[in-house]
Symmetry: C2
Subunit: 463 residues, 2 copies
């Protein structure tokens, strides 16, 4: 008999278990009929739209979130100021000058410097990927524009992102060190459509790479590749107006459903409020904001408050350096031991298909109750090695137990960080299933008597 | 027994039929293994790219086509100059000013005038479609920007295009007459991605509408609709740099496979060389150019030349007024009676699924041979009321017999007239099937002894 079946049987046999299923059933039923998450993501994307950190729209989004949390009846609603970097993508023009003049669709990578008005014109050298770039003889790079022609594979868990994103983060550093003038990468994404994907570059000692870096849409990378295969030298011209502006003030927006018995103990539900500037931030991460807000609201609507406090945290500037998440960890360092559990929604709105967590041995029974509650939503058991999402990474040093509700990410990287990340890419039914899963896990955590600590140690430098 | 089965049986029984199947079999086999059409469309889209009439790239495309036809061994290769209008799309900025400021993705409709640098700012009024616009009280339109919020349905035969495209063609005229300042339409297209679809507007006495007109990408039309549903007045600002430039010289590019017995009789294979400026013109109509060139080349490679001449015609400026097609009809008016048959490829590269034609009664046997040859490619019988494609429309007055190989257009309007019309949207296998179908029909027409005239009269104003 599987572990799951034992659990289900236990729930059926145990009268306490039976009683405990009532609010679960109520939550699940309500969530699967509830359109508030949809309304929230529709409003955020349609009324506010793109909201890159530090922009005017970022501030509009903070005001929106405070207003919505108050209207939903959250308690202790607050916007906690966070100083964020402010980078403007500006306009990006990449054109093939010879042999076949053509304008390519491109966008600046996050943090890129711009060019002069005249731009940079140089011969292109192609490298297969970041490893090939690192191995390349500097003599072949010097004075050139480097084209990193890697390809990302479509996977349900999105796990090829980690491989390909290295070049987005670091290629410009390597090219600069080898004397290259600029870098263009094939977009880190899986979509066949003509949308370049942006995303952050790595900083070193707080600085971004000193040369311009842009991503080409996949069909445009194909055009460049075609011309390179023709045998003649290919020359590109880049013109970019991207630039850093003075730091700006944004905010983490927080709202709570205060617990009835242990109000100082927190189940943290996180998502990020900011987005890149190209799309309207629907799958990344308007959906996440909507999921955690709607899930907490549904728990608040149960006949009885849960024992612990549910805290919804919409972070500032996840995209461009996790500023809000770091600020939260710092501001709440003293109460980290009171964080019973943290979970985050930042992988779109695909259906939740697997329940991962990182619990200590004494948390096993709670994991079983969670899995049992989730199984009706089609969620399977996963490993006990969850790391949380990006915004939970500053909580790792505090060894906060986490749940990761793994979403189906098959199409996530078609839209993520592109202009095509818009409301219509969110499936209302999958969104409701997400809300249900988050509500169930949040409720069970807020009610549980088990101790989840100490959690298994994190491996060094995972993610 | 179906008509098709009778035909197949006749082919099997009749020894002449058997002999005649040899070149057909050779053509079909060769076409389904041939990648020259792919190489042609890859080269045209990757080396030349967008080629709107009158542009520098239009001239580059003409030179490309002449060069390719010569390299393929076509005879009488020539570029016949055509004076074309030259309209530049420029940049289009459409933003919601209030209540929720947001930049929308938009593009100028073909022929639109631009705005001043300050642009046009006004309240938006929504109408459901062209009929509603025509019925609207001018008092509701005056001083406003009109949003035509029609929707196009996805159909295999693309037939909803004809319904929705009316507004693209004529809304700006109606809005101008009712005192409106500008018009934005929901894109005439079926794709859910964030690409506005352009396309020509109707001229009246050679003039385009006097007010600016733009199309919003579908997700952006959704955003505008959302804000309009909110109850507050919505104000838009349009800034467009679109403009007419002096007429320019382009060319119809023609190449022939001269017939062995009746070289003055012509089977015309047409497609258009120009494209809109947003995409690289892969499905519209690079694929068509490649299909007709490759099909004629395959016929030329048979052991024996066909009796009649195959003439490949790549027209100038289909998109912005059928200039090349009209010029061809005028230049060749005297030899129109020698046009035995005309066919055109201008609906992408989806598989051919139906054989339509417009033949006189004496052409029935040829229609049967064509259908028989096509049936192995999965092509079904269609009606005898074909009209030919847009570039064949000037030939209608000459009552030239036509074949229309109907392609599967289910996804055609996802890409058509958008930036996303790129090479990767062409399926190499479907492209080969098209080449096979065109080669078979062209060969059978070039060999046939039947008379196809007089064809059934065209209904008044069909299409």
């Amino acid at each position: 008999m599987s572990r799951l079946r034992v659990v289900l049987l236990a729930v059926l046999i145990c009268p306490g278990g039976l009683a405990a299923t009532e609010p679960l059933e109520q939550l699940r039923t309500a969530a699967l009929q509830d359109d508030r998450a949809w309304e929230l993501v529709a409003s955020l994307t349609s009324e506010i739209g793109p909201r890159p950190a530090g922009s005017l729209n970022d501030r509009r989004a903070v005001a929106w979130a405070v207003d919505r949390m108050e209207r939903l009846g959250f308690e202790n609603v607050r916007a906690e100021p966070v100083v964020v970097p402010h980078w403007e993508a500006g306009t990006t023009s990449v054109e093939i000058v010879t042999p076949g003049p053509q304008e390519l669709h491109a966008t600046a990578l996050g943090g890129s410097v711009g060019t002069t008005d005249a731009g940079i014109e140089a011969e292109v050298i192609e490298v297969a990927d970041q490893a090939a770039l690192e191995a390349a003889d500097p003599a072949t790079i010097e004075g050139k524009i480097v084209f990193v022609n890697h390809r990302m594979e479509r996977r349900k868990d999105g796990s090829d992102y980690g491989n390909v994103v290295k070049a987005r983060g670091s290629a410009a550093w390597v090219v600069a060190e080898k004397g290259g003038l600029a870098v263009v990468i094939r977009s880190v994404g899986t979509g066949p459509h003509r949308f370049p994907h942006t995303g952050g570059m790595r900083r070193r000692e707080g600085q971004y790479p000193p040369i311009p870096a842009a991503a080409l849409a996949v069909p445009d990378a194909d055009i460049l590749e075609y011309q390179l295969r023709g045998g003649s030298a290919v020359r590109l011209r880049l013109r970019m107006t991207s630039r850093r502006l003075p730091d700006a003030v944004s905010a983490n927006v927080i709202g709570e459903i205060v617990g009835r018995e242990r109000p100082d103990e927190v189940v943290l539900l996180a998502a990020h409020l900011d987005s890149w500037g190209l799309g309207t931030g629907a799958v990344d991460d308007g959906a996440g904001c909507a999921i955690v807000m709607a899930a907490a609201k549904l728990v608040a609507e149960l006949p009885e408050r849960p024992k612990r406090t549910l805290r919804v945290l919409l972070t500032a500037n996840e995209e461009f350096g996790l500023t809000g998440a770091r600020a939260y960890a710092e501001a709440y360092a003293d109460s980290m031991e009171k964080h019973y559990l943290a979970l985050e929604s930042d992988f779109g709105a695909g259906r939740v298909w697997r329940f991962d967590r990182r619990f200590g041995a004494t948390g096993e029974a709670l994991a079983h109750r969670m899995l049992s509650a989730l199984s009706e939503l089609g969620v399977a058991d996963g490993p006990n090695d969850a790391t949380g999402g990006p915004d939970l990474s500053p909580l790792r040093t505090f060894l906060v137990p986490v749940v990761e509700l793994q979403q189906d990410g098959t199409y996530y990287f078609d839209y993520h960080h592109t202009a095509d990340d818009t409301l219509d890419k969110v499936d209302p039914e999958a969104l409701r299933q997400n809300v249900a899963a988050f509500a169930l896990v949040a409720f069970l955590a807020a009610e549980a008597d088990e101790t989840l600590r100490p959690i298994p140690a994190y491996p060094p430098r995972k993610r």
